[in-house]
Subunit: 180 residues, 2 copies
């Protein structure tokens, strides 16, 4: 089972998020947990989230980049679900070795992420916060799926990103239901 | 007026946060906005926050580092208060040129933040998310106040950090009420 933690506060306004979500919606062996749908009041059910992670063979974090990192509700999820003694620290074994795939979309174009670009840093600098969160829990960090230029990408480009994302989940063990 | 945005979900459990907060509590010309007290339900009053920022000569973000970045409520504050057209983008001038001081405490020791340390990166790598958030709004990033080893520091060390923090606010224009 692959658990996909989806965190988009305004999914209807995001073509990129929509394209990624649609591309995997018919896959079997995937549990989608849309945090903003499950917890609109930010009251995360920690036990339910930990149960889902415990049963997962792989974990996916799918979200748009907001202010260079995860949206607030996913940040709260990190804080409340990835607790000491359960996710890290002495005796914490639940997440150890599980693959973690980061699927992130950015409004900025790839060239905006450079020392001289609009965001003044290469993208990997901002990725460090998320990657190290996974690695501190002993998860195995996979090459992320990064969709830059989410606002301006045309339908064909978004479909290609979706297909690439779908393929990555199939490689992780999801089963193709014949969508493509 | 210096506006200090304080974001600590469990202030009573944090000796470092307590020491920093206490060190500036008698300063005049400082407005303290404790987000977890103001908005325990995560329902941020955006207009009130923007008014406070608009009136500020300097902005301070004071928080513990949680999962390598800001606590969730401060992240939500970034997302809801620092909006396009108001904080950045065409015509956004409110924050331009205002000094921004980051006062952050970490459980980890300074030596944990290195390529070979427990957190696998130098601290500045994680700082980039916060710094670039300020700079994208045109704020003038100041040398931050960083308190490492917050869990293990003794009272004397914490008092010294508090004094250093207090001094930085006085340099920014806060007025000493005779606390020290």
């Amino acid at each position: 089972m692959i658990v996909v933690i989806q965190a988009h506060p305004h999914p209807d306004h995001s073509r990129a998020n929509h394209a990624l979500a649609r591309a995997i919606e018919d896959l079997a062996g995937v549990e989608r947990r849309s945090l903003y749908d499950l917890y609109p009041d930010f009251a995360i059910d920690v036990a339910a989230e930990q149960r889902a992670l415990g049963a997962a063979d792989a974990v996916v974090w799918q979200h748009p980049l907001y202010w260079y990192t995860a949206p607030a509700l996913l940040k709260l999820w990190f804080e409340t679900v990835l607790t000491e003694g359960w996710a890290f620290g002495a005796g914490a074994e639940v997440l150890r070795g599980k693959p973690c795939l980061w699927a992130v979309s950015t409004g900025g174009e790839a060239h905006d992420y450079s020392g001289t670009g609009m965001h003044a840093h290469v993208f990997d600098t901002f990725a460090a916060v998320i990657r190290q969160t996974a690695q501190f829990c002993g998860m195995r960090w996979l090459e992320p799926v990064i969709v830059h230029g989410a606002h301006r990408a045309d339908s064909e480009e978004l479909a290609a990103h979706g297909l690439r994302y779908r393929q990555r989940l199939i490689e992780l063990g999801a089963e193709d239901g014949g969508h493509v």
